[in-house]
Symmetry: C2
Subunit: 150 residues, 2 copies
């Protein structure tokens, strides 16, 4: 079963939009002296839901990374004094990660800019997504005739 060029274009366009959006944030992070993933870690720490503990397990989930990647990311950030680890009292297997003042400042700096920029890029992203999800009538017709996987 072949994928129509149209679908490729829609997929590519969506990823382009997402990538544009994300790279704006990456640049904001870099301006604030952080690598993109480092900012994401700090943001995940700072923006954890109330009921969540900042274990490596949890952070790995929030960052959609394997635990070992998360460990190393935290290693580097601990080295730079942005975060620091403590062993949990409740469960000695668990490490809790917390923001240091330096990390708090850094994430704030970037987040502030990010909030400002968000309105600009966000709408285009929603549009691209909705377009892809809704599909054109043309695409819908194709679906029927070809038993497309969706």
């Amino acid at each position: 079963m072949k994928v129509a060029t149209e679908d490729y274009r829609a997929l590519a366009a969506l990823r382009y939009r997402i990538r544009l959006f994300l790279s704006e944030g990456d640049e904001a992070a870099r301006r604030g002296g952080l690598e993109p993933q480092q900012y994401q870690l700090l943001l995940a720490l700072r923006g954890l839901p109330e009921d969540a503990e900042a274990t490596i397990y949890t952070l790995a989930d929030r960052l959609s990374l394997k635990h070992n990647s998360t460990v190393e990311l935290i290693d580097r950030m601990e080295k730079r004094k942005f975060v620091h680890r403590t062993r949990s009292r409740d469960d000695a297997r668990c490490v809790l990660v917390s923001l240091l003042p330096r990390g708090e400042e850094a994430v704030q700096e970037v987040a502030r800019q990010r909030i400002t920029e968000l309105r600009a890029g966000g709408t285009a992203l929603v549009d691209a997504l909705e377009m892809l999800l809704k599909r054109t009538p043309e695409s819908r017709r194709k679906k029927k005739t070809r038993g497309v996987t969706i």
Copy 2:
């Protein structure tokens, strides 16, 4: 000017949603034997708008990468026989990148799965985005009182 915890949470939630969405695609790519960015390159190639030429300059833009990163990505994919370069006749500075059959097959395999998965993740992403963009009435009130940057 401080960023409210609520805003951090919204930003973090959005990135989480995006990251979930993207990591699904990453996994599909890996199942197809491609690294995530490699799949993105193939997709960008396959999904270029009609009026676009697959120069490194253009691909770098579509992937939101610096040109040198794009060059190296193409290097690796050319090595693996997924794509191949030809020097443009119109402008001898320009290299044109094209998909080889192997690349065509690979991108199709992943794109097919991706189209299937898209409906599942896409809606949640739109919701998270719209929530952040719209803001809650609570956030709007805060904006007025604090002269928030948005």
